[in-house]
């Protein structure tokens, strides 16, 4: 009985993420529009986009190989699995032990690996420019992320996200210098990984500075729908990650009753709203930077992570 309940909760979380992801993207867009005193598209516009895309026919480039056609599914699978391992409203999900934070990052790395290959598959210059820049950004963002993970793991004594979230909610945490550095590092990495301003602009096409959109330029129809959904899931993943580490309140533990779980879900939605609002404010108040300023930005994130880890190595009290 308990197993079935756990299985339902695990499945429910996976579905919740899938349903929430486009809504969250729509929410951020709406917020940004309101901050710019525009009306903005309705909240459900991303769902409409997905439906419209999946109804359209796929226009496949002549040179596209099987890798190009399977990549959307692979990217979606890796992103969805990674996202469903993040504790959102309840820790200790049925399968949360099967991959820790390092594995989650590596799963996102798999998604990126294949999408960058897909950018090169058709053999166009736009795809190449996207893949080339994505590789450069990832080569700095991933180590920065790993260093942040090291810091968190050393503070909580575990790389298992459920345990980290549980530890963060407990009173033993206190205010720590290393935790602050890790927060900054993680936010910077999250901006870069999701192609947000100031690294990349998610709202543009046809701009020589674009990264993510350039890689997926040749995709259309249902393939593009999957890619867009994966991108939305990834954004949601990072916001959930930040929430479960730095706002670890009201994430219910195993064996919580139905009303407390409902509370957990409401708390989660509240955290998402806060995250989306902050992201919109940040993106509105800052300009996009030149591509070759990005290494400096991410280098700073890497140094923050390294510094935080070093502090933890030097003394357990930082």
């Amino acid at each position: 009985m308990a197993l079935i309940r756990d299985l339902l909760i695990q499945g429910g979380q996976m579905l919740l993420l899938l349903v929430l992801a486009p809504l969250f993207t729509g929410f951020v867009r709406k917020m940004k529009a309101r901050l710019q005193r525009r009306q903005g598209p309705p909240l459900i516009q991303p769902y409409r986009d997905l439906v419209r895309l999946s109804r359209k026919e796929v226009v496949l480039a002549d040179q596209a190989s099987w890798l190009f056609r399977t990549t959307p599914y692979l990217v979606f699978a890796a992103t969805w699995v990674a996202a469903s391992l993040i504790p959102t409203f309840r820790i200790d999900l049925l399968y949360s032990w099967s991959a820790d934070l390092i594995a989650i990052i590596a799963l996102l790395g798999s998604a990126r690996f294949f999408i960058a290959l897909a950018g090169l598959d058709v053999g166009t210059s736009f795809g190449g420019i996207g893949s080339s820049r994505e590789a450069m950004i990832a080569s700095l963002a991933e180590p920065a992320m790993i260093m942040v993970v090291f810091t968190l793991a050393l503070i909580a004594g575990s790389t298992q996200l459920s345990n980290v979230a549980e530890f963060m909610a407990s009173p033993q945490v206190g205010l720590r210098v290393s935790l602050g550095l890790a927060l900054f590092g993680l936010v910077m990495v999250a901006l870069a990984e999701n192609g947000r301003v100031p690294i990349d602009n998610p709202a543009t096409h046809l701009e020589l500075t674009m990264v993510h959109e350039a890689m997926v330029l040749e995709y259309s129809g249902r393939h593009l729908a999957l890619i867009e959904l994966s991108a939305a899931l990834k954004l949601l993943l990072y916001v959930s990650l930040l929430a479960c580490i730095f706002l670890p309140w009201d994430i219910e533990s195993a064996g919580a009753s139905a009303p407390t779980l409902a509370l957990g879900i409401f708390a989660y939605l509240g955290k998402l709203a806060l995250g989306g609002f902050l992201l919109a404010v940040f993106e509105t108040s800052i300009a996009k930077m030149r591509v070759f300023r990005v290494p400096e930005f991410l280098g700073a994130a890497l140094m923050l992570g390294l510094l935080a880890t070093l502090l933890r190595f030097v003394s357990a009290s930082f």
């Binding site: 598959d121 450069m136 080569s139 180590p143 890497l302």
Partner: protein
């Protein structure tokens, strides 16, 4: 018994090598030599696997060969058995690959005799149980591989590669020789059993360990002793490149582990700092070099440096934990290193086979002339993709499993009391994280330019799928990569006897865990389940596919590429290997390689083409090797007149030298 079987296989390989000299010119010789090598490797592999899995007691054997008062000692213990598995698995797949690939060899008589000899040399190194046999086999391995590097000796760059290799191999063996000399001590205790029993003084042991690091490190390709490796490995035929990169570097790791953990006695904590720092730097430098290469095989050779670096980081951590008497953590670190040894031998061999298949199909090693091979060599493209994903440490494949274990070992190291290590280990962790990310970039580039896009030359346009033997070898290895990735627990358990023998502890048994997950320390700390991750990915991928199939439109139309409305029919407008690495070259290369870009843009109206010139320097070569070579040249010039002395002058020179030596000996405290 097992040892006898394995030695008999080695002897049979030696006989085969002699036989190959005679029969190499006949047709069918290729099949015979590679088939027989494969059979020997299979027998030896089975014997070693049984020995390791049954955790059998070590077996020893002394043969009355070699130096009269010493004889040749051989021993098969858990460590030897594990490395024997790596050697034999590599040999098995390389021989299978060569059954097809070897048919294209123009001069089989330059390859066939040395190939079994090379295999025999590697087998004997891991079995040797005295310094003489070890060094003899080590040299035998070096020289036979040198002969294979020189098999296409008409190409000028191969001659240079062979020369540099010979010099560096001699240097490395000299360091090993001195190291063993120090461990043997004044009484000449040359067997490993005697060395184990003796407890060398701390200073002596440290010196011997450093010499072993130099000797084994030069063979394994540790920066800055790596200079020969990216020249020599690509110069050999591809199956030999696979063996050199995937297996011979591991034999070097074996030599270092054997000396550091068994023969050199109790470790001092600072040994590990040297090993860790060198390993971390090698990992990152290897990949940055690889990212700058356009030659597919050279790129793979440089990426070997990265993996050797990761292995040495694991070994260094194990040394550090052992020095502070933390056996459980040491076992974790050593398991991570040895598991990566196994994994790297799988995917590096696979990738070199892929490069060999591409070379056979197109005659090209330069990526700038390749492209679009996924359409013309679909099966090769698929298995090479598995190899690229594995080496980029992507879950659920094996490269990730061993890298994950290494990260877990790093996360245990704040418990180390030494301040030096507290500073070095996080830095090495950052280097390792950087190398993991750069590996993905490097193999996106290698695979994307070689197999994807549009063909960049006629040769790439006309490529055809490779033969079935080559494919079988690659499929074998890619399946092994997947199995090691989703069931890492089995391999960790198999490594338990090795750890028990070297450290006196092993990782907790993984066989009983839920869903075959791996739990390095405790479930509350960390766990990873490759099998479940793999299953989840398959399930969610197929869920998505079936949902799309049911709900979405399945119409599909082929059309020219969109490319923002400006598609260009010329393949030259695609991204190239050089341009793909340009952002990374700008970020890392400006300081490390002094990379400079000069743009020549003719003024409007001028019909000359615009040009972009990129210049890079190998600073290690320019500032380390060139001065040493110059110094040796200058010294040789100075000593040259000694050749032209009269007999009287020679005799007085000898007399003078004798007197000086005797005086030194008399004054020695």
């Amino acid at each position: 018994m097992t040892l006898t079987v394995v030695l008999a296989c080695a002897a049979a390989l030696l006989v085969l090598a002699v036989l190959a000299v005679v029969i190499a010119r006949f047709s069918g010789a290729t099949r015979l030599v590679y088939g027989a090598s494969m059979a020997m490797a299979a027998v030896s592999l089975a014997a070693a696997t049984v020995h390791l899995l049954s955790a059998a007691a070590p077996e020893s054997l002394a043969l009355p060969l070699g130096v009269p008062w010493l004889g040749s000692h051989f021993r098969l213990d858990a460590l030897s058995a594990f490395f024997l598995i790596v050697v034999d698995l590599g040999a098995l797949s390389a021989s299978l690959f060569a059954l097809g690939y070897g048919e294209h060899e123009m001069t089989p008589q330059r390859v066939l005799p040395f190939y079994p000899a090379f295999l025999c040399g590697m087998t004997l190194v891991v079995l040797a149980d005295d310094a003489f046999t070890f060094l003899f086999s080590w040299e035998f391995m070096s020289l036979s591989s040198w002969a294979l590097v020189m098999s296409h000796h008409r190409a000028l760059e191969n001659v240079r590669a062979g020369y540099v290799y010979l010099v560096m191999a001699t240097f490395g063996t000299l360091a090993m020789l001195l190291g063993f000399g120090l461990l043997a001590g004044p009484d000449g205790l040359y067997t490993f059993a005697q060395m184990r029993a003796a407890h060398p003084a701390a200073g002596l042991a440290a010196l011997a360990l450093l010499l072993a690091l130099v000797g084994a490190g030069s063979k394994a390709g540790l920066v800055p002793l790596h200079a020969w490796l990216p020249l020599a490995h690509p110069a050999a035929p591809s199956h030999v490149s696979a063996l050199m990169s995937g297996v011979m570097t591991k034999v070097a790791v074996y030599g270092f582990v054997r000396i550091a953990f068994e023969l050199a006695g109790a470790p001092a904590w600072w040994w590990s700092i040297v090993v860790l720092a060198v390993g971390g730097i090698t990992a990152v430098m290897g990949l940055l070099y690889a990212l700058m290469q356009n030659d597919l095989k050279q790129l793979l050779a440089y990426s070997t440096l990265e993996n050797v670096g990761i292995i040495f980081v694991g070994v260094g951590l194990a040394l550090a934990f052992r020095a502070y008497d933390m056996p459980a953590a040491a076992a974790l670190a050593l398991t991570a290193a040895l598991f990566h040894v196994f994994n790297h031998s799988l995917f590096k061999s696979l990738l070199f086979f892929g490069a060999g298949a591409v070379l056979t199909a197109t005659g090209e090693r330069n990526m700038e002339h390749l492209g679009g091979l996924i359409h013309r060599m679909p099966q090769t493209a698929f298995v090479v993709l598995v190899g690229c994903a594995a080496i980029s440490a992507l879950p659920p494949l094996n490269g990730f499993a061993s890298e994950w274990l290494t990260f877990q070992a790093i996360l245990l190291s704040p418990q180390l009391p030494s301040w030096g290590l507290k500073i070095v280990v996080p830095a090495v962790g950052a280097l390792l994280a950087l190398s993991a990310a750069l590996a993905a970039a490097c193999f996106i580039r290698a695979y994307g330019i070689t197999f994807l896009g549009r063909p960049r030359s006629g040769a790439a346009q006309a490529a055809t799928e490779t033969d079935r033997f080559s494919l079988a070898a690659m499929i074998l290895l890619s399946v092994a990569c997947l199995i090691a990735g989703i069931l890492p627990g089995l391999f960790i358990d198999a490594l338990a006897p090795v750890n028990s023998a070297l450290i006196g502890a092993h990782m907790p048994r993984q066989a009983g865990t839920q869903w075959l997950a791996i739990v390095p320390v405790a479930a509350s700390r960390s766990s990873y389940d490759g099998l479940l991750v793999f299953l989840f990915m398959i399930i969610s991928g197929s869920l998505a596919a079936s949902a799309i199939h049911r709900l979405a439109s399945d119409r599909l139309r082929r059309a020219p590429a969109w490319d923002c409305g400006y598609p260009d029919s010329s393949p030259a407008t695609q991204y190239t290997a050089m341009s793909l690495a340009e952002p990374i070259r700008r970020v890392f290369g400006a300081t490390l390689f002094r990379a400079e870009e000069i743009v020549e843009m003719p003024p409007p109206g001028d019909m000359r083409p615009a040009q972009l010139k990129v210049s890079m320097r190998d600073l290690i070569w320019d500032f380390l090797y060139v001065p040493i070579a110059d110094a040796v040249d200058a010294a040789a010039d100075r000593l040259n007149p000694l050749q032209f002395l009269t007999i009287r002058q020679f005799l007085s020179l000898v007399f003078g030298a004798l007197v000086i030596l005797l005086v030194v000996l008399a004054l020695w405290p």
